[in-house]
């Protein structure tokens, strides 16, 4: 079974530029998550999708971050404009339909973003 795919793996941009990350979840997984992991910290949930719909985006900085999941499969996370404090690893995770908590989430390798 193929895992969660993310691209690009690394991105370096200057502040005030925009950037987009892409995630392809495990086939058949209905729930998709985007996390931000700042160096030395645990992942922080930015947004959770259930199929096409947003379940939780309470910690997404909506003035600069946006995410979409068209057709309930792939997802993109965008930052516009980027700030220095956005430097982090952006992790995508997915979980199967009707997952109980112990089915938990399968994480991709992440995209490392450096904002200069």
């Amino acid at each position: 079974e193929a895992g969660v795919a993310q691209s690009p793996r690394y991105k370096i941009i200057e502040k005030r530029q925009s950037v987009a990350f892409w995630c392809n979840p495990i086939s058949g997984h209905a729930t998709l998550y985007w996390y931000q992991q700042i160096l030395g910290q645990g992942p922080k949930l930015l947004i959770q999708f259930q199929n096409n719909g947003v379940v939780d985006d309470s910690q997404l900085p909506k003035d600069r971050f946006s995410a979409e999941r068209l057709k309930g499969v792939d997802s993109t996370l965008k930052i516009q404009p980027a700030k220095l404090e956005d430097s982090a690893v952006y992790l995508c995770a997915s979980s199967p339909p009707l997952a109980v908590v112990q089915e938990t989430q399968y994480f991709g390798p992440g995209t490392r973003l450096l904002v200069l």
Binding site: G42, P43, L45, V101, Q102, T104, Q105
Partner: protein, 111 residues
């Protein structure tokens, strides 16, 4: 105060030693407790999962939960260099299953 506190280490042990990791938390509603392992440049992967209080053993790994003290532990017996990674604790309540992570403890097992 953070919802989940975890000593970031780093922790360096010789091969064969017992590794002891722990987290404390403040939210008494947490019911499900997990340990994730994260290798360098990789995403976290689930290592152990425990519901409510008690112990769970899986090979060389033992997870313990003490809800009365709001304290969870992970023990790694007979540690191997391949156990070198960052270990993240995570927990959630029974309502929305949103995970709250600790900061992670970086462990190095020296051959």
């Amino acid at each position: 105060q953070k919802e989940v506190e975890q000593d970031p280490g780093p922790l360096s042990v010789p091969e064969g030693a017992i590794v002891s990791l722990n987290c404390t938390y403040s939210n008494s509603a947490f019911q499900y407790f997990m340990w994730y392992r994260q290798y360098s440049r990789k995403g976290p992967e689930l290592l152990m999962y425990t519901y409510s209080s008690g112990n769970k053993e899986d090979g060389r790994f033992t997870a313990q939960v003490d809800k009365s003290s709001k304290y969870i532990s992970l023990f790694i017996r007979d540690s191997q260099p391949s156990d070198s990674a960052t270990y993240l604790c995570a927990m959630t309540d029974s309502n929305d299953y949103k995970l709250s992570f600790g900061a992670g403890t970086t462990v190095t097992v020296r051959a």
